[in-house]
């Protein structure tokens, strides 16, 4: 329900402007910024779990990905070098339009994977606290803070690793 000083037309304007900027994959429309990523959700049926319900040996199986548009803010790479060689780390914040997830009939959760820039990022935390006009039913964005994970620990791409 729209507020007295924020009619539904204005809320629609805000959504429309955001779609024009960010892009709208569900309607196959490119945006001005148009940063794309693919969101993978784990398949609970296909992932093998141990007696505690944890994915056994870190071998999670993921469902097919869903292409989404987001505003991406990536930190610089951080390399930790030890006796096994360099280990790249990167934190990335993906800001999605919440309506895009509603259109895709999907909910982003902690533990989901996001494919972006030839890397896979696991969602570590989610923030849904951008309320348009202070209205809690006009929750506007989904901000996911993610971290880079190894391709060998997921079952999406076949990679050479130990």
């Amino acid at each position: 329900m729209a507020g007295r000083f924020l009619p539904q037309r204005d809320v629609n304007l805000v959504t429309r402007v955001s779609r024009e900027l960010v892009g709208d994959k569900q309607r196959n429309k490119d945006g001005l910024i148009n940063q794309e990523c693919v969101v993978y959700k784990p398949s609970l049926q296909e992932s093998a779990v141990n007696m505690y319900g944890e994915a056994a040996g870190g071998k999670k199986v993921y469902k097919n990905g869903v292409q989404m548009n987001a505003l991406v803010a990536a930190d610089d790479f951080d390399f930790n070098t030890d006796e096994f060689g360099p280990d790249a780390q990167q934190n990335v914040v993906f800001s999605f339009l919440r309506q895009a997830f509603i259109d895709a009939s999907m909910v982003l959760e902690i533990g989901d994977l996001i494919d972006w820039n030839y890397g896979y990022f696991e969602v570590g935390s989610i923030n849904e606290n951008q309320l348009v006009g202070g209205q809690f039913d006009q929750n506007f964005s989904v901000v996911a803070t993610t971290f880079l994970i190894r391709k060998s620990s997921i079952q999406i791409e076949r990679v050479r690793s130990i």
């Binding site: 204005d10 304007l13 805000v14 402007v17 955001s18 900027l21 960010v22 987001a70 505003l71 803010a73 914040v93 800001s95 999605f96 339009l97 919440r98 951008q130 348009v132 506007f140 964005s141 989904v142 901000v143």
Partner: protein
């Protein structure tokens, strides 16, 4: 024939009856009005939320541009009308006559053989 304000027909003119210069002026003024309206609409919210950020709209810029363009077009129209006023036309005629007289005064007289 329209020579000045006194015989200009101040009734509702049809767009198709306006000459090309007038049509161009109307189109430019219409564009300025559209800019002003769009600027007013975009000025309602100086900034709009986008996911995890805000974007600013160019409403104020559009309104400023529209005001400048409207003023320039009104000035242009006023100058054009003044150029075609009765006084300006008479002055042009006067200048033309004076130049003609000056030119004729420099024509050599024919040799009179009596």
């Amino acid at each position: 024939m329209i020579t000045d304000y006194s015989n200009a027909p101040f009734n509702n003119m049809l767009f198709k009856d306006i000459n090309e210069v007038g049509k161009q002026w109307i189109k430019k003024y219409g564009l300025a009005l559209c800019k002003e309206l769009l600027g007013t609409i975009r000025s309602k919210y100086a900034s709009l939320p986008i996911p995890n950020a805000e974007t600013t709209l160019d409403g104020d810029t559009l309104r400023t541009e529209a005001a400048t363009e409207k003023e320039a077009l009104i000035t242009e129209l006023r100058e054009t009308l003044e150029q075609t006023s009765r006084k300006a036309l008479l002055e042009a005629d006067k200048d033309e006559a004076e130049f003609l007289q000056e030119k004729l005064s420099k024509v050599p007289y024919p040799i009179y053989i009596g």
